[in-house]
Subunit: 349 residues, 2 copies
Amino acid sequence: MKKNYTIKDIARIVGVSKGTVDRVIHQRGRVSQETAEKVKAVMAQFEYRPNPIAKRLKKNTIYNISILLPQKNSDPYWLPCFAAIEQVEREYGHFGIKLNRYYFDPEVTASFLSVGLEAIASKPVAFLMVPLFFREAEIIAEKCKETNIKVATFNNYVNQSKVDFFIGQDLYQSGRVAASLFYILIKEKANLAILHIDESFQNASHMQEKERGFIDYFEINKSKEVKIHIHHLKKEDGFSIEETITNFKRKNAYLDGIFVTTSKAYLLANGGRVSSTKPILVGYDLVEKNIAHLKEGNISFLIHQDPKKQVYLSLTSLVEYFLFDNPFRKQLLLPIDIINAENYSYYLA
Amino acid sequence: MKKNYTIKDIARIVGVSKGTVDRVIHQRGRVSQETAEKVKAVMAQFEYRPNPIAKRLKKNTIYNISILLPQKNSDPYWLPCFAAIEQVEREYGHFGIKLNRYYFDPEVTASFLSVGLEAIASKPVAFLMVPLFFREAEIIAEKCKETNIKVATFNNYVNQSKVDFFIGQDLYQSGRVAASLFYILIKEKANLAILHIDESFQNASHMQEKERGFIDYFEINKSKEVKIHIHHLKKEDGFSIEETITNFKRKNAYLDGIFVTTSKAYLLANGGRVSSTKPILVGYDLVEKNIAHLKEGNISFLIHQDPKKQVYLSLTSLVEYFLFDNPFRKQLLLPIDIINAENYSYYLA
DNA sequence: AGTTAAAATGTGCTCGTACACGCAAAATAT
DNA sequence: ATATTTTGCGTGTACGAGCACATTTTAACT
């Protein structure tokens, strides 16, 4: 039954005015050493914590946070991010949190840089981005450091020293999770492929980490005989991505399983069950087309990277820091959710 | 760039005093029909939303919430709940949220009822419980209804009409998830057991739902030949639970896999790898002993019921309702998290 | 000693809302 | 007609913190 002590309480107990207590709290000087000590002692004794409600009401400032995201008509993987932004706006709008959205074209590196610079030109208190282009992201991050803007990143890893906050998955470990699933899905002997598909190979390191984890798992668990083949696939000139995939499937018909390291597993599931020898598929992300194939049984498992949660948590971490001085951890690694046809629905929206 | 309009703004625009606007908002009467209409119109036009911060500061009321939980030295499954309570206290303490803990002995039905009644005797605004004993839980819930106390439940399902809020998992579906995992773990033919272990069988329906889901899955997916055996295990007089388990294992050595519907899977994993024919184990809950066996490979998968999240979300739903009038959904079904040796660590605390 | 600057402390308003109170005009009663 | 109640509205204070400004106390000079 402990009361929340106020500045007035502390002042009364020490025998000074609240102005003096306030000066001690904010270290604004003009207080004798002696009384400062007394005030501090009493504050400590009664565990004084300033009332964040009153604080907020008084300092009626607006906190602008800029967010740099891929434009809406690009990869549907990013769609849940927008819902997260709206949720934070709803929850914290009355606390003076203003979120400003900026969109870049993921196909055009230069747009990432230019829109990113535009986003921080208005001098927000914080800047959140998905650093698809790590070189450009670092340039923006450095500009933020100069102007004292907190930098948060999600989904893609960049050099920790450049940013204040990162949230995402441990990609190496997610590769291992995928491998552990294949391990129970395959027979005693199997040919497996790691398949990196992306229209543009921005995030090479992103895929490499997953690859490393996947290979390591089978290095350690040797009781099944597995051969791992690594393939990079990209839209070829004169062919659609679908044609490229069909071509790949024909050339590699001997594969028992394919680990698709991007959200494009549905491309391999398309065309469906050619025969009972169709390869086992494990991929990433709960995008609509993947879900459809998961339900059909064409994809065995998906790993959920939860972009919505990533955006929600990065924004709330920043917000709580500015509003309530809650320190945030420099790095947050989200769970590696294993999704199949029986549990996917609980992870949507 | 829309401003947040205040009562004062509205008053100025209408040409009345803030007192009048306030009376309209709270429907306290003493306002002429005519001006009331005008005020309402202007509020609607400028989308007036009362500032929850100021509101909270003024109405300095304390919201007492009572929580009924199993006492700490019982099943370790409940341990994460306490952390959730502390977190909510930290986050909402300054908003006047006070959480009062009450503990019952899960071995003694009567203690549930008596401590529960004690918990609501102090007339809290809300009451959260884990309704292990559904009959007694309904009695308490009815008492709450009479005295206008909001009733929230988690983990165990009770009649929806009796309570205001429920959070937990869809148990039928979680049985199906377990079955879908066995499906890929077993060979073409297999003998599987559903094993209900509990020192006391309070939550019979809890287990039945899981059983039903498990069986249904194999009814639908018939491409593997599975025989399902159902067993109830309970501490027998004169024997320790461990001895009972050993006895069960010896008598049922032919089993290829065992689905343990409670958090006691570790009991079957104990004694470890008797031979290469040891049964495949899938169980529930990330309690310490289960995790240890998961790492060792004695348990293949665990389904995470996330008691911490259950408590956290039920409390925050109530809190946001009282503080900010946020309506809560009557029922919230949490994801059925699939956990193995490679991803468990991200789900712990 | 008196004057003045500097240091230490107190006072009072503000943020937006809730609510008690006050006071005039209108409606009713005597 | 005057007294009294009712209706409709305005005023003012409080919640706790922050900050500008006022006031007192102490120190430092002539």
